[in-house]
């Protein structure tokens, strides 16, 4: 059955790696609904967090084919309950709205905050799950929402400790090797 999954991929830092990963989804006709990538706490290792609607069976195969790529450390499929995740959204609203209605209450109740205020507009930031962020749009619409922008998912995997230790070991081995080589 199709449902939402989070795929995490740990990669080397290399031009084109995004393309290498995404074409594997493309080949099986899987639509990527969000993709976030950034360097991990280990220098030179990047983490991709990809959300897709698909089936577990299909994704297990996709992940196998991603792991086959030379510059991939590991790739995993996670069910919803295996990850803690957040998304971040920004909402741009006309400054005039500050004088109408009770926007202050809305911001407080939604755990949102104001990032900046100019003469023309102000920007609200909110983190949460997709449903919460889009629900907030509805609440803001009466105040004249000018623009809305949302990030992809960032996720922490509940059982990820072992793999991160493995990565750190790799990193240590690498730096010891480099030191040894620089001595020679």
């Amino acid at each position: 059955m199709q449902k939402e999954y989070t795929v995490t991929v740990y990669t080397e830092d290399r031009i084109g790696i995004t393309n290498r990963i995404t074409i594997i989804f493309t080949r099986r006709g899987i639509n990527i609904t969000s993709l976030t990538t950034a360097e991990t706490e280990i220098p030179g290792v990047y983490k991709f967090i990809i959300t897709v609607m698909s089936t577990r069976e299909k994704l297990d195969k996709v992940v196998g084919q991603i792991e086959r790529l030379i510059e991939i450390h590991r790739a995993f499929v996670h069910e919803e309950e295996e990850v803690v995740y957040q998304e971040l959204a920004l909402y741009k609203i006309s400054t005039k709205a500050l004088h109408t209605g009770d926007i202050e209450r809305l911001i407080r109740e939604n755990n949102a905050r104001i990032l900046t205020i100019t003469a023309d507009y102000f920007v609200i930031e909110k983190t949460g799950h997709q449903e919460e962020l889009t629900a907030f749009i509805k609440q803001l619409e009466p105040y004249g929402l000018i623009e809305y922008s949302k990030s992809g998912r960032v996720a922490i995997v509940k059982w990820s400790r072992r793999f991160h230790e493995h990565l750190k070991e790799l990193q240590q081995a690498e730096s010891i090797k480099q030191k040894a080589e620089s001595i020679h």
Partner: protein, 582 residues
Amino acid sequence: MQQKDVLQMKPEIADKQLTAKPVITGSEAVIRSLIEEGVDTIFGYPGGAIMPIYDALYDFQDQVRHILVRHEQGATHAAQGYARSSGRVGVAFATSGPGATNLVTGLADAYMDSTPMVCVTGQVAASLLGTDAFQETDVIGITMPITKWNIQVTRAEDIPAAMAKAFYIARSGRPGPVLVDITKNAQFGEFEYSYKKCEYIRSYRPVPELNQEAITAAAALINSAKKPFILCGHGVLLSGAEKELIALAEKAQIPVGSTLLGLSAVPVDHPMYVGLLGMHGNYGPNMLTGEADVVIAVGMRFDDRVTGDVESYVPNAKVIHIEIDAAEINKIIKADVAVHADAKQALAALLPQVNQADHTAWLQEFRDADKKEYDKVQQAELYPTEGELKMAEVIRLISEKTNREAVLVTDVGQHQMVASRYYRFKNPNTNITSGGMGTMGFSLPAAMGAKTGTPEKEVVAIIGDGCFQMTLQELGTIHQSQIGVKIVILNNNFLGMVRQWQQLFFDKRYSSTEMVNPDFVQIAKGFYIPGQKVTARENISAAIDEMLAHKGAYLLEVVVEKEDNVFPMVPAGAPVSSIRLE
């Protein structure tokens, strides 16, 4: 020609003699890297963006032989043939743009058939990348899904490390093609050269650690089996596990069926060998796959041409899948015991844990099926006494007259299936064919590569009339480089396999499959390659003798029955047990 001494030939840098590392161009570094990796042959075609590399090559002609092909596709197939026959990495050169895009078919073919190959392409200068410069194409983007790895190098000093990585990746683990795209400025650039072979990439584990528990579980399954069956794939040849596989089969009396690319791993006359699996394979191994209770799949990926309908495949069997590529395990067929390992290591570990067994009755079932196939199909194919010549009898004669020791390079279609069915392979790596991709036009260039890689062996290309016309320009290469391949065209003046399907599944509506062919012998003559055409049964034996006795390349055109069909046959997508004998 003397080996180029950089310091002598470049007086302007002679004062740098005191430094340990010579200063050379990126182009020269490409050639020196190849020599470091043991490359003795390059198949290629020059052009604007790769000219500096060809210029560097000029000084190393005593160490590396360059074979000038007639089309870049030919270079890739030749490199594939070279690799498959010799076990070494095949190398192809091409220029940017159309030169690079012409490599695509061969790269895809090598990727599907796990063939170690390194392709070097020239590229426009780094400053022009992305500007639609003359003969610029995004070959990295194009070949990303059909290479094991690819890289674009834009600085001369990055060339040695890229080449070292390319060879390491191409040949290690499950082998595959690698493409190195080198911009023109990197070819011209000078730097202090040194070379270090690559033996480790931290994100890449080519050979998994053997899991002893999986071996024990596999041994237990085999020991409990009443009807075990080995499926021998290409991985057996790639890991050099032929002896281990045969030892296992002998010890536990396990019949062995082979995939198309697994052919030649086990001699055809070995008592445990029961034939070819799949669509046009033998009757026994297809029928009895359904009866097996334990299937031991070694170095194979359950291609749809092997499994037919996946749902009804191996209905009664526990599956042991020995496979080096984790992505292949559970991809098509769920493994009850997955042995993620190199085939040779896994089989060697398995052997002492497997008990001797006697499966005489089970083996007899295969022999009974063989008899049925022989009576219904093979006898008439192999020993016809009247009518037009048949492909199978030609293959039988070639098999006999080459003492079963030739490297057989087949193209794609009916002749491929017939050759694979009837050539009686004796030695490993003597079957070279385009399996996964089914690339028509593969055979002629692949045969020339195979002959170059293993010149001591007789190399016979078996080609259909349609396939031949896809790459026949390589006759020019064969003549120029004096490559002694024997070329046999089995000519039915049809795209025979498509015609067979039209006959069986499209109401004999022969849409665009009949061919009006040229005079093949005259074409060969035009390339200064001798040959003859045979149409009558009484002449075929002597013609094959003449071909084999001829020193150098020779073309034999054999006109065969026009509307012959290859049987047995499993219709596409049908269960393998529905294999038809007629």
